[in-house]
């Protein structure tokens, strides 16, 4: 009994959990309105990441490439940076922000990104004297960190470049939700509305679920504006919901502009959501309204129907982004499931010291394993091992064959979830998300019982 925190022993990776840094940077970049990220690297670094986003959201996002080739490898890619920036600015008159995202190749070649941006700024000023286009240096070599760190770094860099002055006090909150789905964002916005708290979300990805309209207009882009980012320095406080995806920007706003930063537990499950609402109430002085007490009660009511009858003692394996995995593991405890395997997929050494992980290990009165720098082969090996009984997998679609081949029920959660319909629309955070996720888990387990003829008759009377 107890918890082991280990690191994958193999050097190589079989079936990675995360994409590389530039991919995460691209995700942060598309959250800004009138923004097209420009990836300084080979064309595949952009083309496949666009495809990945399209798979998850069933939407198209605009991302450009400098199309780096051999000549750039030898002579440097300066001209391609300048051509890329100017071509984008000329052909997209509404464009206001270009995050210039580096990759492994451009970092190894050693192109002077900041120097080239200075040149670009001059060229832009000359070509468009009445227009400001922000070119943001985003250093995200693929051989460091992962999509998680890349998201965080691009977010931070965009604020560093655009939010350069202390704005007049807005009384608003900056909310950094992390790499979440539109469903979470819409729900979090509703919570703040119900609390009568004025807040700005960074990045506002609500329209990543966008309509087909009679006039054929396309609204698939971030809602966060340059003005939103500028005004963030005048906010009452920042609240970061994900320690590894956005907290660094909140901290930067705190150190540069004295905007107080609150890094809260990621609001998966009831107690974490309670803590978030209480924190917001504490910062703003706004009470938690009856409507949210009711919603909380409806969620607990629903969870009660499921927890000790169906969920109790179920052994769960979780993988995905660190804040998601940790938050869901905490939620598992609330519904009496046992998180037996937590897989965190990059070499960030901070995970092992994360207070939430340490708290989980103290609570574990069962065998629990946390593997850092893990890949999905670690999951597959344990699923195949008869001694490691796993009843449920919570993770993203890249692990689908572990579940299919192992005949283990799996609920898709996290990024990317491309093999189930519409998941991006449904929250997993908050009371509503806890309830919907639990019900999704229950229905998945029920279907599994039926297809495997495993005590499916229990449900005859439920």
């Amino acid at each position: 009994m107890g918890c082991d925190i280990t690191t994958k022993e193999r050097a190589g990776v079989i079936n990675p959990m995360y994409d590389c840094q530039p991919a995460g940077a691209q995700y942060a970049g598309i959250g800004v309105k009138d923004c097209i990220p420009l990836v300084h690297g080979g064309q595949g670094c952009t083309m496949f990441v666009r495809l990945l986003f399209a798979q998850h959201f069933k939407e198209n996002f605009d991302i450009a490439s400098t199309s780096l080739h051999e000549d750039s490898a030898v002579f440097g890619g300066h001209q391609r940076i300048r051509d890329g920036v100017m071509t984008l600015a000329r052909r997209y008159p509404a464009l206001r922000v270009i995050p210039l995202i580096t990759t492994c190749s451009s970092e190894v070649i050693g192109d002077d990104v900041e120097g080239n941006i200075n040149v670009c700024n001059k060229m832009l000023k000359e070509a468009f004297p009445d227009r400001k286009v922000y070119v943001v240096p985003v250093h995200t070599p693929s051989f460091k960190s992962s999509q998680v760190g890349g998201y965080s770094e691009c977010l931070r860099a965009i604020f560093k470049t655009i939010a350069t002055r202390k704005a007049t006090a807005t009384g608003k909150l900056n909310i950094f939700p992390g790499w979440v789905n539109p469903g979470d964002l819409v729900m979090l916005k509703r919570y703040l509305r119900e609390m009568d708290v004025d807040a700005t979300f960074f990045m506002d990805t609500q329209d990543f679920d966008s309509p087909v309209l009679p006039d054929k207009s396309i609204h698939t882009h971030g809602r966060t504006t340059v003005e939103d980012i500028m005004a963030s320095t005048g906010a009452r406080a920042s609240v970061a919901l994900a320690r590894y995806e956005g907290a660094s920007t909140a901290e930067q706003l705190s150190s540069d502009f004295e905007v107080p930063a609150h890094i809260v537990a990621t609001p998966y499950g009831i107690a974490n959501t309670d803590a978030l609402l209480q924190k917001i109430s504490e910062i703003t002085g706004r009470p938690i309204p009856d409507s949210l007490i009711t919603e909380r009660g409806v969620a607990i009511d629903a969870l009660q129907d499921l927890a000790h009858m169906f969920f109790a003692d179920k052994r769960v394996a979780l993988f995905g982004h660190p804040d998601l995995v940790i938050g869901l593991a905490e939620f598992c405890l609330e519904i009496e499931m046992k998180p037996v395997l937590l897989l965190l997929g990059d070499d960030n050494s901070k995970y092992k010291r994360d207070p939430r992980i340490l708290a989980l290990t103290k609570k574990a009165d069962w065998d629990m394993e946390v593997i850092c720098n893990a890949d999905l082969w670690e999951l597959e090996k344990r699923v195949k091992d008869p001694d490691t009984k796993i009843d449920l997998i919570l993770g993203h679609s890249k692990g689908r064959y572990v579940a299919i081949d192992g005949n283990i029920p799996m609920v898709r959660v996290g990024f990317p979830s491309f093999d189930r319909a519409g998941l991006y629309r449904h929250p997993t955070m908050g009371y509503q998300g806890a309830m919907e996720l639990a019900e999704n888990i229950a229905n998945t387990l029920f279907a599994h019982m039926e297809f495997n003829r495993n005590k499916e008759w229990i449900l005859n009377t439920w």
Partner: protein, 472 residues
Amino acid sequence: MPMVLLECDKDIPEREKHIYLKVDGEDTRDFLPVSNAQTIPGTLSERGCAFCGAKLVIGAVLKDTIQMIHGPIGCAYDTWHTKRYPTDNGHFNMKYVWSTDMKESQIVFGGEKRLEKSINEAFDEMPEIKRMFVYTTCPTALIGDDIKAVAKKVMAARPDVDIFTVECPGFAGVSQSKGHHVLNIGWINDKVGTLEPEITSEYTMNFIGDFNIQGDTQLLQAYWDRLGIQVIAHFTGNGTYDSLRGMHRAQLNVVNCARSSGYIANELKKQYGIPRLDIDSWGFNYMAEGIRKICAFFGIEDRGEALIADEYAKWKGRLDWYKERLKGTRMAIWTGGPRLWHWTKSVEDDLGVEVVAMSSKFGHQEDFEKVIARGRNGTYYIDDGNELEFFEIIDRVRPDVIFTGPRVGELVKKLHIPYVNGHGYHNGPYMGFEGFVNLARDMYNAVHNPLLKLAATDIRGPANATIREAAE
């Protein structure tokens, strides 16, 4: 007149050389779009990289081979779960990717040790697998890791394994096309002729340039079985590593995708004197013609005619049902390259569909020569088309359906235009007779989707009639 400078390209006028509008009475040879040239940075091109051309398109199709990617994690992650090429052994090729997960210290001190360790680990973890491709990526090529030396060392220590190395950094060439070339040439030079295949028929061939998309290879294999022709190697649909080592023993190389795999057919001709026969595997006319050519080569015309007659009896009626309903449909094709010329005439002849615009990501001059010869007048032929150009072309030609990838499909959905997956198919296979009926069915279901009318309806206007009509 024939080369077109679009409004969106006024700031990059060099794009004019890449867009051709075919008109009546011109010598089209005078107006070939420039192709296989560098993309203008920042244009939102559709192109991928040489690495993906080698690994994702050709190598990772093999059903018994570890694909070790020497580089940072993204190159592996991104070339996983983006293709639909099943195998008859449970899709080993689609379930796994392998990476050396290169980190900064290997960039500084070299990554060969990490590669060696990762190769050994992969073989240890999957002891039933004895074959491997190793790929370089941008950073490992830039720092100059010698992957061939590492592969040799591992093979010396593990006599039961065989490893093929591919030098295909993403920055090489101008598109994925470079990776096709590198892998083709590498394979013929390093591996063909290193294993003798078992010959089971007096008629033998290699089938080259077909990647078993949704079962294409397996569908066509039924034809070859019926004709009594042994396919020594499929390059690379549902293929195995060792079968490809025996390509030198075939009497004939039949080539479907000339762009990705024509190189190896040429080399097999040069080095082993094996003739090359190009066919089109999509479409009734083309498939029948291909079968006739192959059978003529072997002198088994009777068998070919019998097969074609049976297949026509089985499928022609259903094809014609769709033809009746698809006649006059305006189609755009935005795919890699060869499918433009494989499809433009087959959909016209077999289905009465008019292809009104085509864009190729990585086609070369000969692809454009073929497609312009086969294609219609009034049609746009575009090299390396980008997003703003697509919008403008759509306005000009008003297609009813676009055969393209899923991401562009999501984009054109907002413009009320349905897409059919021109890469991985909607519900294939699409090759062969049965396959082309599948293609026709998917096109029909896309074009006749009632949601299209509902999408175009603004219920704030006097449009109730339209809604009723769509629902009926």
